[in-house]
Symmetry: D2
Subunit: 402 residues, 4 copies
């Protein structure tokens, strides 16, 4: 594996700004990026370190600068210790990274969860966005960054009514603010601020935000670059290779039952049925698209506290073959959520930064490989998404050679 540092980005310092900076995924990504930079770990799990992507002009791990927002104010060292106790990250990394983690703490800004003064909701929300934007701009200034990618790895928010006229366009949002309303859901504030600050945005959660009509409108207006949504890390990853297999072999899937048991913060959030709806919706949509029709079967996400950051997905697929004979595939996936998500977060930050450097604007639809709900694409089959990813990195490599 090689550390990409193509000619187009050489020397450039690139910011990675996490929404949910003290969460398990961001902490694991940070610890890993520092460990790879310092030669303490390999790039295992990083798609951007595969030989097939070798020529892509990606920012190197030594040129990444990390910062972010969070509601928590807990030191990274403490979070890392908690993750090490759960076998998410190797304990022996903590000592050599002590100083780097402490410095990273300084780049995290605390945000209050919900401030409502009651006087003028529109002005309040406008101010909230301005504060987020100011944090980003200060981050750029402090480190002389060539560009920043904001990555949302915070807790999942519930879906919103996308038909709300206040959300129809950037202008509609501004008009609503003027009228004293606060139309944006919390998860849309960060992409809005990112676009205003000239940053790229990666939606790693299923929360509504970067895909709302008004946010897309703002992104187009400002020539922003973004990708999403909802990282494809486990069960859905498997679905994206198994479903095409059934289709290509003319086997009819009769039912597909999915059970997800997980602990940790994510499990706790998703045990709330309303918040879970975002997740179950994106999980189910892809399967339907790949199979060409809806198939029955429950899709459960359950909180099992003692599992911590680990997750078990059990699926039963029943299918019919020749002469209607019914058969069964069952799988059990036992993975570490943060260990699966963190390298993809780094991949996405690097690929989005490289796309920005190449002048690419709008949604980077070729990054669907990483997502349950690939914005800008209807393709869910991993093998096809892999070809699309290689087309993107090929064109980035070509652009940088010119």
């Amino acid at each position: 594996m090689t550390q990409g540092s193509g000619p187009g980005t050489a020397g450039d310092r690139v910011g990675v700004w996490f929404v949910g900076a003290k969460g398990s995924v961001a902490t694991t990504a940070l610890v890993g990026a520092l460990a790879i930079r310092d030669g303490l770990a390999s790039g295992l799990g990083c798609v951007t370190e595969l030989p097939e992507l070798a020529g892509t002009p990606l920012p190197g791990f030594d040129s990444l600068v990390f910062g972010g927002h969070d509601v928590l104010d807990v030191p990274y060292r403490k979070r890392a210790e908690e993750l090490a106790a759960q076998s998410v990250i190797p304990g022996q990394l903590l000592e050599p990274l002590t100083d780097a983690l402490a410095r990273a703490d300084d780049e995290v800004r605390q945000v209050a969860t919900a401030e409502r003064d009651g006087h003028d909701a529109g002005a309040a929300q406008r101010a909230q966005v301005a504060r987020l934007r100011a944090d980003l701009e200060a981050f750029v200034g402090r480190h002389g960054l060539a560009r920043v990618v904001v990555v949302d790895v915070s807790s999942t928010h519930a879906p919103v009514d996308v038909a709300d006229p206040d959300l129809a366009s950037a202008a509609a949002v501004r008009a609503a603010w003027d009228a004293g309303r606060s139309p944006l859901p919390a998860s849309a504030l960060h992409p809005w601020a990112a676009f205003e600050a000239g940053a790229g945005f990666v939606a790693f959660t299923p929360s509504p935000g970067v895909d709302l009509p008004c946010v897309v409108d703002l992104g187009r207006e400002l020539g922003a670059t973004w990708a999403g949504a909802d990282g494809k890390t486990g069960e859905t990853l498997l679905k994206s290779v198994l479903a095409p297999m059934f289709v290509q072999r003319a086997l009819r899937v009769d039912s597909w039952a999915s059970v997800n048991l997980l602990g940790g913060g994510d499990g706790s959030t998703l045990s709330d049925p309303v918040a879970a709806r975002s997740k179950t919706t994106t999980k189910a949509a892809g399967l339907e698209a790949m199979l060409g029709r809806h198939v029955p079967g429950p899709l459960h996400i359950d909180y099992v506290p003692d599992m911590g950051d680990w997750k078990t997905a059990w699926d039963q697929v029943r299918f019919s073959g020749f002469l209607g004979t019914a058969m069964t595939l069952q799988f059990t996936w036992q993975g570490c959520d943060s260990a699966l998500a963190a390298p993809l977060v780094l991949d996405l930050a690097r690929l989005t930064a490289a796309s920005m450097a190449a002048g690419r604007t709008g949604v980077v639809s070729e990054l669907g490989f990483f997502f349950k709900n690939p914005l800008g694409s209807d393709e869910h089959a991993l093998a096809v998404q892999w070809q699309e990813l290689l087309r993107l990195t090929g064109s980035l490599a070509e652009g940088s050679d010119a």
Copy 2:
């Protein structure tokens, strides 16, 4: 789903000649083909009936004529009843197909397993081949067939020493015969006879035969068409989508344990370690090719009598991700061997016939999609093989339009 009958093959009657004609796979394929022809069953499980292959000039199910060789002389009706009792084929198909199955019995020629007179082994083997060829030619004459595809679905034979100089070329075989030796293993007699009779050949088992240097040489000499080897029906099918997934996601597979429990004739044959070696070799080779290196882990094939024609494959894949975190995927595949194999056998017969009609000679490497050991190709990833298959059917469709 549509029954392909492109312009190039309209009206042509095509023979499908099974080696192992009274085995479970051939019987299921026969029953199914007749049922589809008579509108009693859909083409479920048949890749050639997928919309993506719609324009391919394939022989229709109503133009297929079935025959074959077997050591057993048991009526198809009885075999079909046995399979129905195991839920391999629906019992209600037996009654309406009674006459058609009886007629099919007339097209099966019995072959003795091993006749050794001791006088002149060379002459004996030459005569054996001649007999097989004569059976094929009589089949063609009896039905006025445009072409025949011989499909080997007989029991697996043990590997042979491919470095044997007697097997180095067609001429070497003939010279060995002249010298009183019988160099060809039993599983090579059928492809040899098929090529001499102008028939195509599909190796659906891992037995040595069509891939021996001498047989390949004969096939080239006579402009024959063939494909193989070892139908990819279950566990290996899953491996061919899961292994690329791990590779593309930069996850390192540390071990891959495979357990296959099966009853029936195949289970019994494969519980013999020598015969099983053909199967375990082709099963293991693909995984290594896809992962780029050998990974530890047992590969068991066990005979469990009460499972009959059903098979359970259980695999445990252990893999490492970001920062070396170890994770696990386990799957359980419960399939009906004959129901999985039979439609592929029909697909291969139709696609090979269409390739022959289009003047294609040599190994049809684009049919690797169907095989554990894709002759003429190093590609084992299903998604890539699917693209190759579509390239083949696209070119066949184009050729027939011209």
Copy 3:
């Protein structure tokens, strides 16, 4: 295995009256009892046919007479064909049992689901009970039965408020009827009528009924015999041997997740969360009792239409051992619901009849072996319940010897 026919019951004809007589469980039990009687099937699956119970004075299969209530009026032959198509019962049994099944149809009385005239609900419910009782008494008279056991195998009903003062005693129910109220839930009408008719009662479902204070009161008043509740056929059966294993080995269960996928009528009923509450409550209670405390973990019952009468239960048990090391047990149970329930239904009918013959009244708590919610007992561990069952059959054998 032997067909019990102890001295005490020789010659006695015993009635088995199913509530839900045309359901899958009752149909399978009927077909099986007739097949065993006629020597067409062994007593596989019947606990009462085990050598350990050999001396028990049970009614033989040739002395059982079947009847019942149902809302459906479909012939048994048709129901049996449907079950044979799902591999629940062997198709070859249908032909030889044709006449016997037709005769059994004559013994089933149709009941309307819910008749409400609005005039006097109390009188209406009293009349409903009287009708059920009359059907039972006519059944006894028609066949000269020594005794009858009513077995409830109908769809599950939702729980009721057991604190309702109208349900506090038999007298309270009668007073409520006099006052024009209809306090009994539908599932309590059958045990009430059974007790009035001098019949025994087995609650094979979790529906409220025989365990309501008023019904228990009536049973005591009339010296009735009963057992229940909710047949322990699959996942809960496994729990009743696995949970004691963890406890006896000092392993702490940290979470126990249970997923039940099933089709058929039962699956459809239980996909209604309200009706399912009866089932999930009895399923969860036993685990808590055996482990000595509540453990977290979801308990799902999902309707998967294509599974028909088959059921997959998948459980994940996470437990901690020495020094807190966390480990995992997962199991997958793939069973046929009716094939598992039917022999237990016959066992319970025979054992309850034998208990009645021996003069036993009240709840037969030693039959907890068969139930998720063992009435009259707190014991859920199968091994202990087995000893209790042997104590019962031992005492029945002794009584009949005297």
Copy 4:
């Protein structure tokens, strides 16, 4: 949980002498015993700490002294670190136990694997036994021990020919020594030496030894106390509750396939088919005894290096129920071998010591609860073994009250 210290053993110091003292099981048992003694860990996983055994006069953890033999000379601290890296024991225990572990190192005597001088094999083996005995007697003297229990947790040895006349009695062994032969297999030297030194013996592995006729003879001659063989920690533990369940429910087991994947030293040893024979024999025997007959199905033990001290057992049980309907149970047990074995080793040492204190001699057959091959008993069902264990502890408690 309580630390048993009945009146009979108060103040007594008891030695636990491990054969294989530096192996994973012994190291885990030692670390755990010290941690429990020092209040750093609970008695989780220790059967002897269950409330049901509370009154038994067992030696307390503070009165146990550890020593042993091993071929390796590696400090306990290092072995413990290796185990902590594999999540077998919690890393935070290492620091507080540093001194205690160093002191434990002093009690381990190195033994050469196989010393053969060629001169007089009989004298050499006699001397070997004498050296082992001397080590034990010095251990007793050094610590003023009331009694010692030798526990064999070393690598598994292959079976021997028990019909060898040299092994027929203690006298036969001595005569063979006199004649210059060395009849005892390596695994029999330790129990022989233990009995001569007045120590008890626990065979926690399936190696031949304490169950050889000559060793049993010696034990009887000297009034020794012993128990065995082959700790029942995982898959066989499950079999010992599941097999009785099938039997008691009259379900016929048609096949039982068992796959064991394990790394570590044990996996490596057992990948040798000859050594594995001891293990597979004891594993299979119990199942046959519980089911009342042999059932088909493979039993694999495979070495998967990356699994380290962890083990996955996957079993498929196929069974037939009512009317012959075939059904399936599959389970996946993912356990840590040493964490499962270590507390049982401590349990056995304590229970054997208490039995010795109570004057019990010969094989303690009531300890079959802990073993795959319960010496002195034909009972394999866990629930019955549990009752036998309680009978033993009850009698020990009674004896100590008197």
